[in-house]
């Protein structure tokens, strides 16, 4: 509808409304006023008239009353009727020409206690206001005047017509004014409309001509300013859009998924826009996503949290919210993303801008890090425990076991140790109602002993020979299952770590891995303890050997010194004395000079022989000159056969073959020690010496039929029993050459010493190169 039409209609309506309102208001006011005046006039007139004719009424002067009433009616056109009740006899004097209406007898009598009364009567000729008056309520003397309302009605009707006419005139004038005004207003508005349409079609360059200084002119000028501002704003918007597109593209390139979601109730939750990265994340193509509701790509576990976050943004509690959630791809796969959102206006619609970044890999790595941290923490705790109690294996294992069980979250467990040369035993127990001393283990013969064979962790149900079948947890429950992992040390399974649980589900891959690590750590720890102990023993042995060597050296020096002193020294002294005697004899022409010199020669020969013995004892030259076998042979003959022990030989291989000095010296000394022990302690009558020469090793065997001895006893008491150190020295020499030494001996069963020394190619070549350099 045109504005002009609206103005015309509105103006007409206003005029009509005002006219009607005026009619109503004025009619009401005039009616009320006239009625009020009527009432006042009637009330006053009836009282005055009543007073005037009271005496006549009391005197029964009917004629005077009649004339008065007729006079009243005749002079007051509004008086429809008048009647009076007089004394005596209550005669009614009235102005009704055709008779007194019966209805009036009961319609409007003045009530007792009242001297005046007004009654509205609805008659054939309209409303009549009956005003009644009485002189006293002790006497039936009344006057009634009936005032018709026709006059008021006529006046109101005339008034209504006048106002109606004025209204119609006003409406006509209003319509004309509206038309004129409308043209005056709509013409510039039409120009403005044309301008707006140009703007709407994109032409913001043309302005509207302004010719007036009124509000329309102001509107036109404001419009022109608006166009200029819009032009600038549109330019900025275009730049911003370009920037936004670049931003979205850049965001997509760095892995930022962006989606815009309707935030208005009609399309709430549906996608408005998605970038390539978001499509890639969800596995949907763009067209499909734009038809979906965002809830479709959100995993049910994250829906509530997402909705609450969205609601908090809407409620203004936060402008942007960042949290993690899980998406559901087209292939029903889960993708963990980090998201943030904020409310924006996009293309005129309120939307939630949703930024997502795939953190699935990061979460997996975080989980892995957490797992590894847990493992490291556990291993670190175990390591600390092991370091603290490195000297007390029982405490170490117990605390380590407690730590391991705590990390695994299981209530009970135990550690079994299976030494190489002794029966297996329980080293630590936690969470079982029986004490360590009260439990027996059949490890590794029990089911969990499979770890020794497989070296793999296992989960077993308690079998008949399982420790777990014989015991209960501290909480009173039986053991439904337990897992065991090997404790590896020195390349072998030295025991097992077992953890008991109520359900096998506890032993998942992660816990198993942790148990294996703990087991490995414990194995290493135990091996280290063992090695440390061995090292300590070896250190002690070395110290002992060193001391022995020093003592031996000293003894040897002492012996050499004594022998040199006692024998060679004596001989040399005798020789000096003899030479002196000879000198003197020669001077004195003694006959015994020749005898003396003979005796000196014999003494000197003895001294030389004694010296050779000493030298041989120190190091036989045979060893350096002829090699190992001749040296051993000489030593055996010299030491054993000289005391009646029969020595048998078994040589396999080239007995003239030579080896490196270290090998020959070590084997000689081992043989020397063995033969010395046999001669000193064995009480043997026969000794067999065997030498097997292969390409890659030398095997030397020395067995006697002596009384034998308790090897462990001798070794344990090596500091008192010199054989112990000697045996250790033999082993040391073999170990130094990466060889092995085995001693078999039992009391009354003789003794066999077996040495195996590996040969390398250069052991032979070394010998050849050094052959000409023998001392």
């Amino acid at each position: 509808m045109k504005l002009q039409t609206k103005i015309i209609i509105l103006t007409s309506l206003i005029v009509i409304s005002l006219g009607v309102l005026t009619i109503g208001a004025i009619n009401t006011m005039v009616a009320n006023q006239l009625t009020g005046e009527l009432n006042a006039h009637g009330s006053t007139l009836v009282q005055i008239s009543g007073n005037a004719i009271a005496n006549a009424l009391l005197d029964g002067d009917v004629v005077a009353v009649q004339e008065f009433l007729q006079y009243l009616k005749g002079t007051n056109p509004n008086i429809e009727y008048a009647y009076a009740i007089g004394a005596p006899g209550r005669t009614i004097v009235h102005t009704f020409p055709d008779g007194f209406p019966l209805d009036l007898l009961a319609a409007n009598a003045v009530s007792n206690g009242q001297l005046t009364q007004q009654t509205r009567l609805n008659t054939e000729s309209g409303i009549v206001h009956d005003f009644g008056w009485r002189l006293t309520d002790k006497l039936d003397v009344e006057l009634h005047l009936g005032f018709s309302q026709i006059g008021i009605t006529q006046i109101l009707q005339e008034l209504t017509w006048i106002i109606f006419g004025l209204t119609a005139v006003g409406m006509g004038v209003g319509v004309i004014a509206a038309v004129v005004f409308g043209r005056f207003v709509t013409s510039p508005l039409a120009q403005l409309t044309e301008g707006v349409q140009r703007f709407g079609s994109g032409d913001l360059t043309q302005t509207i001509a302004v010719s007036s200084r009124d509000e329309l002119g102001d509107l036109a000028r404001a419009f022109n300013r608006m166009a200029a501002d819009l032009q600038g704003t549109i330019t900025q918007l275009r730049d911003s859009q370009a920037g936004y597109r670049a931003l979205l593209k850049a965001a997509g390139q760095v892995g930022e998924g962006i989606a815009l979601i309707h935030d208005e109730t009609t399309d709430e939750g549906s996608f408005l826009f998605v970038n390539d990265e978001f499509c890639r994340l969800t596995g949907y193509d763009r067209a499909h996503l734009l038809q979906l509701n965002a809830a479709k790509v959100i995993h049910p576990s994250s829906l509530n949290a997402v909705y609450e976050a969205w609601q908090s943004i809407r409620d203004g509690e936060s402008t942007a919210l960042r949290h993690e959630m899980t998406l559901l791809t087209r292939d029903r796969c889960k993708v963990v993303v980090e998201t943030s959102g904020t409310i924006i206006t996009y293309e005129g619609q309120r939307a939630l801008a949703w930024f997502t970044r795939d953190i699935t890999e990061r979460k997996a790595k975080e989980a892995e890090i957490q797992r590894r941290n847990r493992e490291l923490a556990t291993l670190n705790s175990v390591s600390v425990i092991m370091n603290q109690h490195s000297s007390n294996i029982e405490n170490m294992l117990h605390e380590a076991l407690e730590q391991a069980l705590s990390a695994l979250g299981v209530p009970a467990g135990w550690i079994s140790i299976a030494p190489e040369d002794s029966p297996p035993y329980l080293a630590a127990v936690v969470g079982l109602s029986e004490s360590l001393s009260g439990l027996e283990t059949e490890f590794p013969d029990c089911e969990c002993g499979l770890v020794i064979q497989t070296r793999q962790p296992i989960v077993v149900k308690p079998g008949k020979n399982c420790i777990s079948i014989k015991s209960t947890m501290v909480d009173g429950n039986g053991i439904n299952c337990h897992a065991s992992v090997p404790l590896m040390g020195g390349g072998r399974v030295i025991g097992a770590l077992s953890a008991a649980a109520h359900s096998p589900s506890v032993f998942n891959e992660e816990n198993f891995r942790l148990m294996v690590m703990i087991g490995a750590q414990l194995g290493v720890a135990l091996e280290n303890v063992r090695l440390w102990k061995d090292l300590q023993d070896k250190e002690r042995l070395r110290a002992q050997l060193l001391a022995k060597a020093i003592r031996a050296q000293e003894d040897e020096r002492r012996r050499i010194a004594r022998e040199l002193h006692d024998e060679i020294g004596q001989s040399l002294n005798a020789l000096i004395f003899g030479l002196k005697t000879a000198e003197l004899s020669m001077m004195e022409y003694s006959v015994d000079a020749q005898e003396v010199l003979k005796r000196l020669r014999v003494s000197t020969s003895d001294a030389v022989r004694e010296l050779q013995t000493v030298i041989y004892d120190l190091r036989p030259s045979l060893l350096d000159d002829l090699g190992l076998i001749p040296a051993i042979r000489w030593y055996a003959e010299d030491r054993l056969e000289s005391v009646g022990v029969r020595v048998s030989w078994e040589v396999v291989g080239n007995d003239e073959e030579r080896f490196t000095p270290d090998i020959e010296t070590a084997l000689f000394r081992i043989a020397q020690e063995a033969l010395t022990n046999a001669s000193k302690y064995a009480e043997a009558t026969e000794i067999n010496i065997g030498l097997h020469l292969n390409d890659d090793r030398i095997n030397l065997t020395i067995c006697d039929n002596g009384i034998g001895f308790d090897i462990s006893n001798v070794l344990d008491n090596r500091e008192r029993d010199g054989r112990g150190l000697g045996l250790l020295g033999m082993k040391e020499r073999a170990d130094l050459l990466s060889g092995t030494l085995d001693i078999e001996s039992k009391p009354a069963s003789g003794t066999c010493v077996r040495v195996a020394i590996p040969l390398r190619q250069d052991d032979m070549s070394v010998f050849e190169s050094s052959n000409g350099d023998s001392p």
């Binding site: 309506l13 009619n27 209805d103 008659t123 009549v128 006293t136």
Partner: protein, 315 residues
């Protein structure tokens, strides 16, 4: 569409307004009557309201104009109804009628009447003067006044000779009997007057004097003094004190009713609460209430009435 709804709403509102304005005056309490049908031709009398309990009729000698008398005595009846519990109605004796006859005919039960009326009623019945009125001086007696116009040349009773005179009703004590006594005492006969006439009330007598229709007239003292204060008349003579008017109970009135009314009248004190219900009580002959009176107090007047043959009711 919204504009159409708005326009429709405006139209409806206007219609309602107009209807309201048009019907503004209707709807109030209105009685439907037919003025042009069910007509009663000829003489019509207002129907008498049936009374459930007895209503005692109270009449009165006219003193002022009838409507004033009616208003004055209406207040007294309101008082009597409240105090005694009996119901009362006023009765106006027609001009052609006689209060004495009405009391004797038992059409009137009580009456505020003058001495002569009482004497006439008492002459042939056992009617009782229950109480007599107390004047402004505290006396239950009254006088008559002979009044003339202020500019009249009359100054005494003697001057009445050969002048016109107006008496009140022939039944009026103050208007006729006492003035006759005054003239008699002044040795003036009726024939000495140039002319004389009888009016129906002190009020009419006053009007006759003031208007100049007569030279002098005889009226009650209270009215006369009131007119003197207004400068309308001048007193040329006043009588002696005689027992004042009072309230008469008809012989047919039950004794307990008469007793109750008598007690109520004796307790009547216009200066207190009673005054709120009264209309110009000070203009009556009993402005200060009532006092007990005996029949013997009227013996002197009875004798004079007998001399002038006034003991029979005058028509």
């Amino acid at each position: 569409m919204r504009l159409l709804y708005t326009l429709r709403g405006i139209f409806l509102s206007l219609i309602i307004l107009m209807a309201g304005a048009a019907c503004g005056s209707s709807g109030r309490d209105t009685v439907d009557v037919q003025l042009e049908s069910n007509l009663i031709r000829g003489e019509v009398r207002w129907p008498l309201t049936a009374e459930i309990e007895p209503v005692y009729v109270f009449g009165f000698d006219r003193r002022l104009e009838p409507k004033e008398d009616v208003r004055i005595y209406s207040g007294l009846l309101e008082y009597l109804e409240r105090v005694t519990g009996y119901r009362f109605r006023l009765h106006v004796t027609p001009r052609t009628g006689s209060l004495v006859h009405e009391m004797l005919d038992e059409r009137v039960d009580f009456a505020a009447a003058g001495t002569l009326t009482y004497l006439q009623v008492r002459e042939t019945s056992e009617a009782l003067m229950l109480v007599s009125g107390i004047n402004i001086h505290g006396e239950n007696s009254y006088r008559s006044l002979i009044v003339t116009r202020p500019d009249s040349s009359l100054n005494s009773l003697q001057d009445l000779v050969n002048h016109s005179f107006a008496f009140g009703s022939t039944n009026s004590t103050q208007g006729y009997l006492i003035p006759r006594i005054m003239m008699s005492q002044a040795d003036i006969q009726l024939t000495d007057l140039r002319s004389y006439e009888f009016t129906r009330s002190h009020f009419e007598t006053s009007n006759a004097v003031i208007s100049g229709r007569v030279d002098a007239g005889a009226i009650q003292d209270t009215l006369g003094r009131s007119l003197v204060e207004q400068g309308l008349v001048r007193i040329i003579a006043q009588s002696d004190l005689y027992p004042s008017s009072g309230i008469i109970a008809g012989a047919h009135v039950p004794a307990e009713v008469a007793e109750a009314v008598q007690q109520a009248l004796l307790a009547f004190n216009p200066s207190y609460l009673n005054g709120l219900e009264l209309y110009h009580w000070e203009r009556t002959e009993m402005p200060n209430g009532f006092a007990l009176v005996t029949d013997g107090a009227y013996d002197e007047l009875r004798q004079w009435a007998e001399i002038y043959r006034l003991l029979q009711p005058q028509s």
